[in-house]
């Protein structure tokens, strides 16, 4: 009879403290679409315990940093809170020292530096920064956990990223279509697309659902709205 690996005798060794996993992923999906004079961000509000349970149905992943900039973060919400605290305090100091709010591109660079600062014990956060720059042009940056960032016209992150990114590539980036009519989206079209994308992600990803926050950023400021996703 073959002995399967799980029944093989374990080697005796020095007594060890039980390992505990410092990170957990609370799940959820975020995305942003930037246009010529706006940026629309969307994020679901479900927070799970990393397994099959729900911690809460109504926890926002969006954080308004200035009137022209919103940060959407998925990943571990404990690290997100710490990161947001860090960012908000830095933004206040900048405004006091420089007499004006920090511009969105400057915040984008600063976020990257903040994340890389903890390169060897990272913030388990997957960020998407969206807003308008000082000229009023829409912009969006996507990040990895340690600060690698890239400015782009659209981006998604989180557990539904792999479901949503190809849709954005096709509908916003006009990819994989020959002779596509390359018209830029209006803010309303971008918002409809984001709602459709989040709804579709909610169908197939168990960690996405409940409610979703939409933030529309333009020269007039940040407008927040909410819509319903499935509860199952």
């Amino acid at each position: 009879m073959m002995i399967s690996p799980s029944h093989a005798p374990k080697a005796a060794g020095p007594m060890q403290a039980r390992d505990f996993d410092m990170y957990s992923n609370n799940g959820g999906t975020t995305l942003a679409v930037a246009g010529s004079d706006f940026c629309v961000l969307g994020a679901d509000t479900r927070m799970s315990d990393g397994g099959y349970g729900i911690n809460t149905r109504n926890y926002t992943k969006l954080c308004k940093l200035t009137d022209k900039c919103v940060l959407a973060t998925s990943g571990m919400q404990a690290d997100t809170l710490a990161l947001q605290k860090n960012l908000r305090s830095m933004l206040q100091m900048y405004e006091h020292n420089n007499g004006k709010p920090m511009s969105t591109p400057a915040i984008a660079q600063w976020l990257s530096n903040t994340l890389y600062f903890k390169r060897f014990f990272p913030y388990y956060t997957f960020n998407v920064l969206g807003g308008v720059d000082d000229a009023g042009v829409g912009c969006c940056w996507s990040y990895d956990a340690v600060g690698s960032h890239e400015r782009c016209k659209y981006s998604s992150s989180g557990t539904g990223q792999q479901l949503i990114q190809p849709l954005l590539d096709n509908q916003v980036g006009h990819k994989n279509q020959i002779r596509a009519i390359e018209v830029d989206l209006t803010a309303d079209e971008a918002e409809d697309l984001i709602k459709d994308a989040l709804t579709s992600a909610g169908e197939r990803d168990i960690y996405t659902g409940d409610y979703a926050d939409i933030a529309r950023v333009d020269k007039n400021g940040v407008h927040l709205s909410k819509f319903e996703l499935k509860f199952d």
Partner: protein, 273 residues
Amino acid sequence: MELPNRGGFNFDYSVRNESLSAKTGIALPKAKKTGTTIAGVIFNGGVVLGADTRATEGPIVADKNCEKIHYIAPNIYCCGAGTSADTENTTALISSKLALHRLATGRSSRVVTALTLLKNMLFKYQGHVSAALVLGGVDLNGPQLHTIYPHGSTDQLPYVTMGSGSLAAMAVFEARWREGLTKEEAIELVHDAICSGIFNDLGSGGNVDITVLTQDKVEIKRGYDKPNPRKFRRERPYEFPAGTTPIIAGSEIKSFLEERITITTLKPESMEI
């Protein structure tokens, strides 16, 4: 030389698979699990079985409307949680064995027969067949409800739940079950228990399927409740004009069937003795 077929599982590759996945970092393929909330309740004169309809592969929903209540015999049905392939094939195998048994004995099947066949098979596979079942049926001894665990143990109870949503469903049962439920009360209770699993367990979702078994008939209520319709759909459809996808090369394959089929009408003949 052909080795005799010993049956059971062959673990010869398990060490090699583990070391390969460790060396190359490529993950071993995962079996599709059903996540799942399944439940059953006995009432005056019968059994109500209920199940959700979500099948998951890790965190992704593979099937939003799969069937988890399986036919075993005309008077016996079985809900399955665990690995989809295992529940499908186990219930189908025992259903087949019971059909042959009915022909051999000339009698309708008993629930305990299905129970014994299922538990003996699962015990033989030492838990490697990951099937957790809720077996319900009505036979000459009246309505019966059992649970069967992957390792082969069984319980007989008036109300049961299994699957990742079993705690959510059992919470509803423990609050509201009582002896002597009517059929309508039992259906409502099972429906509420499954809904509790659907909404509070991430591994369960979709619709509520109900099956009601009584002495004389079976009512299959597939899609008894659909509490999760899609909430938003963009008005503008996603349209792609012809020519969107570049055609690199093409060839036409003509159907050969039309030339081969000849239609002959046979005269009915009496059977020769």
